[in-house]
């Protein structure tokens, strides 16, 4: 089983992104569930969502405490939230980062095994005219982990948000930089 935690802000589509990952997995014949952290999702406030993926039915309906992967939809969240809490050793970090960011400057904990960097905000602004980063982050996630197929995610993204977002997904997939740290 793979466990994922997404960190975003209200209005970024964090919960929906989590649902798309699950939907893609189910389309592929697998199982998954996603649970949003239960709070009041005010625009701009930190929110999180939990995802589990597996090849067999997933029984626990609990939050994720030791994720295999953390997706951070807004880099500035690192100031407010410990996004690495419980990250499994050798786990994945999918980070929305400024263009030209260097891993050495990111002050990552030792638990991170693979980091995926993408300027999701920049890509989203250019293509959508607004900093809604979930689609771009999904592209980076798929590229970094390969846990679900890009085409399945793309079809759902298009279904929910239209062609422009599906293109953004592909663009982010191409642009994302996967760095293995060990």
């Amino acid at each position: 089983m793979k466990e994922i935690r997404l960190h975003g802000r209200g209005g970024m589509g964090t919960v929906k992104a989590a649902e798309i990952i699950v939907t893609a997995k189910v389309l592929e014949g697998g199982y998954g569930n996603s649970i949003p952290f239960f709070g009041f999702e005010r625009q701009g406030a930190p929110v999180s969502s939990f995802v589990r993926l597996d090849e067999r039915p997933i029984r626990p309906k609990t939050q994720v405490y030791t994720p295999d992967c953390v997706i951070v939809l807004d880099g500035t969240l690192r100031k407010a939230v410990d996004v690495f809490e419980g990250l499994k050793d050798g786990g994945w970090l999918i980070l929305n980062s400024e263009p030209g960011s260097r891993v050495e400057d990111l002050d990552l904990p030792r638990s991170v095994g693979t980091v995926v960097l993408v300027d999701a905000t920049g890509l989203a602004l250019r293509r959508l005219g607004k900093p809604i980063t979930n689609t771009a982050m999904l592209g980076a996630f798929v590229k970094g982990t390969g846990w679900v197929e890009l085409s399945d995610v793309a079809s759902k993204v298009e279904e929910f948000w239209g062609r422009e977002n599906a293109d953004l997904l592909g663009e982010a997939f191409e642009a994302a930089q996967v760095i293995r740290l060990r």
């Binding site: 989590a18 649902e19 699950v22 939907t23 189910v26 199982y31 998954g32 569930n33 996603s34 649970i35 949003p36 239960f38 039915p57 997933i58 029984r59 626990p60 309906k61 609990t62 939050q63 405490y65």
Partner: protein, 399 residues
């Protein structure tokens, strides 16, 4: 033929309601049930739901509108949570004593105070004696399957009682997972249209509903109500079998047992915590502990004999309650299980856990701890006299 979809619990409930073709729907939004109302209005706007729907000004009116509609012979559906259910109490009790087969999902949420919008079945469990059938489920597929079945159970001439299908707020209502959705034609065959024969408000057949009634007749009606509750237990099982024949999915009727065949210890569960407990049963069994699980699905009518039979060979058990019974100082399900055993003449060591209040997560770690505590208490022949609190201590919180 069914369709595989991915949906949250509220969408599963709304989808089930749509498939059941209720003639009248009245609901008032409340967290965490709100999306059910939104989905239904969306279905109606899209044209996939033809129910008469009304946007009411309170839950009291929602249940009242359905009471009127049901008296006039309509199949009825609604959903609520917590304070909404509390506000409904007056027409809620009356819907059962008037024998109105209304189906209502309860998206379980903690009762205030303290102010909380998060999960916990305190709301519906507190109303266990109000004459409704109450069934509790553990995942989104079960929400959909059981909500469809609820209409058939409620409208069965042997039953004619309103029914709640209860699911945990947020943990299920807002959790997204894979759900198989049956075809409309399959459900149409499973659920013939409702015909109110026991009473009807219809000028072609004038009758009085609920005249002033002497005590001895109140006794008569109460006894009939109780008899129907008893009959409902069988109808729940039958309906589960009929639904399994249709979809291949059986949920076990009033009670669902997991790895109980040779169990020395048992954990009794209700609602969404069951999944984590199943996982932990497997884990403990792998470590050599012979523990099994009894999931209470039907809380009313309570399957007393089945519970006693399920626990007939264990040395002891524990109950994980996400609710409290003030003054009894344990959870409510624990009382029910203990009472059922008393009838069978057995006294077993047992542990009354209380955890997960106000949406607190009952983590796998906590479940593991609970299982260890069951084994330790049972082996020592110990029964704690009040609740064992299942929680992870936090800094600054008085434990």
């Amino acid at each position: 033929m069914s369709t595989v979809a991915v949906m949250n619990g509220n969408y599963a409930a709304a989808t089930a309601a749509r498939l059941a073709r209720p003639e009248v729907i009245a609901a008032y939004p409340i967290t965490p049930q709100t999306p059910v109302v939104e989905y239904l209005t969306l279905f109606a706007a899209e044209g996939s739901l033809s129910s008469r729907m009304t946007e009411v000004e309170s839950e009291h009116s929602a249940m009242s509108i359905l009471s009127g509609a049901s008296l006039a012979g309509a199949r009825c559906y609604t959903a609520t949570s917590s304070q909404g259910l509390a506000l409904m109490y007056e027409p809620y009790f009356r819907a059962s004593t008037l024998r109105l087969p209304i189906v209502m999902n309860i998206v379980n949420r903690e009762m205030i105070s303290p102010q909380s919008v998060w999960g916990g079945p305190q709301d519906s469990l507190t109303l266990r004696d109000a004459g409704w059938i109450q069934i509790y489920v553990e995942d989104n597929q079960e929400i959909l399957d059981q909500t469809i079945q609820a209409f058939r159970i409620a409208e069965d001439p042997r039953v004619l009682l309103p029914i709640n299908v209860c699911y945990d707020g947020f943990y299920l209502s807002h959790m997204t997972e894979r759900v198989e959705v049956p075809e409309q034609a399959e459900i149409d065959a499973f659920l013939p249209p409702y015909e109110a024969k026991h009473q009807i408000l219809d000028p072609r057949k004038p009758m009085a509903i609920d005249p002033l009634t002497s005590g001895y007749l109140v006794m008569e009606y109460r006894k009939k109500h109780m008899d129907s509750m008893a009959a409902a237990l069988g109808v729940v099982e039958e309906t589960d079998k009929a639904y399994a024949a249709l979809t291949g999915r059986s949920w076990g009727g009033a009670l669902d047992l997991y790895r109980m065949e040779d169990a020395e210890y048992a954990v009794v569960t209700l609602g969404s915590v069951t999944g984590a407990c199943r996982e932990m049963v497997d884990e403990k069994r792998a470590a050599g502990v012979r523990i099994g699980l009894v999931k209470v699905r039907c809380l009313r009518p309570f399957p007393k004999a089945a519970v006693a039979a399920a626990l007939a060979r264990v040395k002891g058990f524990g109950v994980i309650d996400r609710n409290v019974s003030f003054g009894w100082n344990t959870g409510i399900v624990y009382q029910e299980v203990r009472s059922a055993l008393y009838e069978s003449g057995r006294t077993l060591p047992s542990v009354p856990f209380v955890g997960g209040l106000g949406g607190e997560d009952i983590t796998l770690g906590l479940v593991s701890k609970a299982f260890d505590e069951i084994v330790a208490a049972v082996d020592a022949g110990r029964t704690p006299q009040s609740a064992v609190w299942l929680w992870a201590p936090r800094k600054g919180v008085k434990a």
